[in-house]
Symmetry: D2
Subunit: 337 residues, 4 copies
């Protein structure tokens, strides 16, 4: 860690900080410069968090050298993690497609959509039973009944199920009915939920928050892993920017960046990442081309009557076309679909 | 509501939508133009949500005319709401200062800080018992013990207490110990928590999310109010932008904008909004000058040893100076401090 | 165009606006609703710009129905434009790779780099003679001498040359030495420069500004085309967001979105779009996969000693690997490299 | 400067960099840590720019210790600069109000507006003759004729004139007719224009770009000052964010932040910073309260018929009210209006 002092800091103030560093077992460094005094701490700087040096009045800035996450980083764990969702592997040679409706609306709607996505090659089924909605007047999901429909249709079509959990009290129920639990963008920093998921015994798909940096996302994953659940799949789904032509700005830079820093699998959600049906196919292909381990796609048997996110949901025949276009890209990247 | 169709939409597709609009009791309007067909719906367009027109393949865009919130808007409720936190009124003639440490660290730390802020004129005490932290390795708060310290110190110094709640299961305990419950930026769209706060019987301070538009904030407040709790204070605390010199970008535009659209009181948190101790005073004054109903200020008896947010916490003597500078601005605006 | 009036607008104020609309030859529409009066104008609404309705005190908001650009839009010009840069076509069946150093530093440096990129399959050479730099103390380019080196090396290696122009007074000189003129992100709204390029007789590569929406970019292109130069290639190169792990956030959503709205070719600059050497290859592949017509890549014979942008410049052997990886994606998309 | 090497960097690569640092006259520091080797350079690190260390393949990151600007910084020049525009001082005890129409539309429109703003207490007149407009189909200003009107009205009403310059070739003409030259947000990084303004002999008002960090703004000012013109006034006018309720997000944090780092005066443009007429007054007061040296306000004799920016232009009577509200805040801050 590098600590830059303000110009007015005194010798004794520098000395005090160096003593604290030494007391924690790190090697302190004193670098008096022409305009600023710079201090350093050599060793595992993460223990310095307990000093809260950023609060010192004579500290101008602090620059960590090491990443603040450990368990999700590649340094201690260089090899790719493969997460198993039911019988499906995420993160290995294969490219994983999770597809299904935004929300579970009825048993029929879910079954019809599930049959369609299974037929066209999806590996897992998605569908929301608990829907976080911006307005209290929007459809909020079928809750427990939705979970039951998911479990039932999963058995029928033979696809594992991914569904969102929004509240600690629901974790057990969701874990009983689903093969993987999804954390939505709005809950990425709901730390109590993350901690609960560290104990749920099922894999977690963690979506990036709309204002979350890549480091924030990795630290959110660290919450889950540090509680004992190593099976975390990260999901890039677009961030908030000034651009309004699309619902979000899909940050595909994040895919190769995360892959270089973390061993966790990374998938992409081009449905939320664009918000526009006609952009989902091209951006799914782009995700595959830059190294993502899979995609998550909203499909509805009848998007014109979807209760949520209809404008970004694919018709079954559009999903079929997407799978064909995706296959050639995935194979060009040396993977299998 | 205005519905713009794609150029390729047919007459019968337009007709189908108009029929749906009429069936819901609104007056449909057909406006065929030279390059696009535009449809309209006159009446309380919020019932149109059930049509999910955005999912129709021939719909290019939808433009609502009315705000999607009702209860928090000025149209149905033109007069300013005044929220009472303990014996303190927020939103009337007075300008309210809530001050205290970021986190409750010990009974002594809280008591010393509370005595200091009370002496210099704060109207309410803040302090976090449950701390949402970006890293799992940071101090997470004293939890229930912290709540007990808050209640005890509140009685001693005679200031009402505001503290954050992060989880549905904690709402009752927090409501028992505090005079107002705060929802942090990361939980602004934790809708289950908002719904629970609609029933908690205590006022709520709702902080704007880091990626939340003003409309998102008002809809989050609508969740609480629509569940039966009209006592909501909104809090601008900075949004995420590309600027890195400050921790967040404090969006003071939001203050007069919200005041023109909503009857709820609005306060400002310049501590999180800037992240830098020396900017807190100037931005607190700016908040008062543009019409905020109060400010929330982090103060610590010893910021150099604070367990969180030390770099943005004021020393007690800095808080004293802030109050003096603030008083002249508040009075220049015709209010009292 | 849809005009929403404020609640307090009177009947006669609405009437005045409707009369103005009719006087301009459009069909006015009066839609009195329950909470707002909405007005409409049917016809080519772009003539309404002269009314400046946004300034009326009783106008709450204005919602255009048509895109504000015409010449660059697909509506009047549905077929893809192919732009020729020297002997290279941009926008047709082929996928175009423009490569070379960020800045021309010397004749040798340029020649060595040009020979390398030509050998590995680049179609055109890039290199900056006029360098816009954030700091006045950074290398600002070789100016006219740089242009001469570019022309000389272009002849030697047989690649057309693309270089940036930053000032109206330089347009003629740059047009004499280069096959295409590039407008950098910082000049995307330098409208006098755009107008001058409308008369330069050479194709223009127009880079998206760091704070420019897609619509802003298309309107900037409209400046050039409306002055008489139809040969414009658009370039996505990343926008400014809160993410700091990468230099910019490459907005690949923009590629399929623009292709659906405009007939102009679109290329992508993953070097500036990421700012990190190891992300350039993956993001070039992603650009090809989502439908871009080409990429622009910074390559340097010796990036460790580059005078600008070394951290995002590829070594020649990295460029060779990029071309191999790109070829399989381009072919999977049914195009040729 | 602190240089962090990648984990795979060798001893001899570290040594090479240290030798380069020493060769430039700085003191090199070698700090081998447990997971990374960190290097340091003590002395005026700005000379290290010539090493372009960011391009080295073994360099992970570079962290400067000193600000990259010198002449505009407070370290070498601790006292506030006062800039004189005609007979008006910007940056001292007084608070300066520049007001007038967005664009000069006619001699009469300018004169009427100028008389109004002068009567209500403005210190200087603004008005654009060269208008950078997003669309080529919008009003582009009266150019030279507009400059002549400005000069004529300036003499008549006795107010100095501020107007925008958009192109190097116009600098002389603008400097002849105006008392200060304004650089608009879109040209903040038009470095050739900045260099030309370094020689123009008149003060410059430099507006912050929509995607410019505070550091970018200070470096842009450094361009002007380093060419010989010390009379630069910085202007915060809002940045681009995800919020769409207002035209821009006015970043008032920038005011006290810049004042702490730079000796240059800072003014605020709440007209562009909000884009909404009713927010201009509150945000002008906020600007004064957080330490700005003045404001720039768009006023039009008849905003409903303004050729540009009507929705953010004040009616003369609104400007009168703004001046009254502002006076009490300015005086509460111990300054004079």
């Amino acid at each position: 860690m590098i600590i830059v002092l303000k110009p007015e800091a005194t010798e004794s103030e520098a000395r005090e900080i160096l003593d604290h560093i030494a007391a924690l077992g790190l090697r302190p460094l004193h670098m008096p410069g022409t305009e600023r005094v710079v201090l350093g701490a050599i060793g595992d700087e993460r223990v310095l968090g307990s000093l809260h040096l950023e609060g010192y009045p004579q500290v101008e800035s602090i620059q960590p050298i090491l990443a603040p996450y450990k368990l999700v980083g590649r340094e201690l764990h260089p090899h790719d993690t493969i997460v198993r969702i039911g019988k499906v592997s995420v993160g290995g040679e294969g490219f994983t497609v999770v597809a299904g409706p935004c929300a579970v609306e009825s048993l029929d709607q879910l079954r019809d959509t599930a049959i369609a996505v299974q037929k066209h090659g999806a590996h897992a089924l998605r569908g929301g039973a608990f829907k976080p909605r911006t307005s209290p007047y929007s459809f909020q999901g079928l809750a427990l009944e939705g979970l039951q429909f998911l479990a039932e249709v999963s058995r029928e079509v033979g696809l594992p199920v991914v569904t969102e959990v929004v509240e600690v009290a629901d974790v057990d129920a969701v874990a009983r009915h689903a093969d993987a639990l999804q954390v939505g963008a709005r809950n990425m920093q709901n730390f109590r939920l993350l901690q609960a998921l560290g104990h749920c015994g099922k894999p977690v798909i963690l979506k990036r928050g709309m204002a979350a940096t890549i480091q924030d996302l990795l630290l959110a994953a660290e919450y889950i892993v540090s509680e004992g659940n190593p099976n975390v799949v990260l999901c890039e789904r677009g961030i908030k920017t000034f651009e309004t032509a699309t619902r979000n700005t899909l940050d595909l830079n994040a895919v190769p960046f995360i892959k270089s820093r973390s061993h966790l699998p990374v998938i992409v959600d081009p449905s939320h990442g664009t918000g526009l049906r006609e952009l989902v196919g091209p951006m799914a292909r782009a995700a595959a081309a830059c190294g993502a381990d899979g995609v998550m796609i909203e499909v509805h048997r009848d998007p014109a009557h979807a209760l949520s996110d209809g404008q970004q949901s694919l018709y079954p025949e559009q999903f079929s076309a997407l799978m064909k276009g995706l296959r050639s890209i995935v194979e060009a990247c040396g993977r299998t679909l």
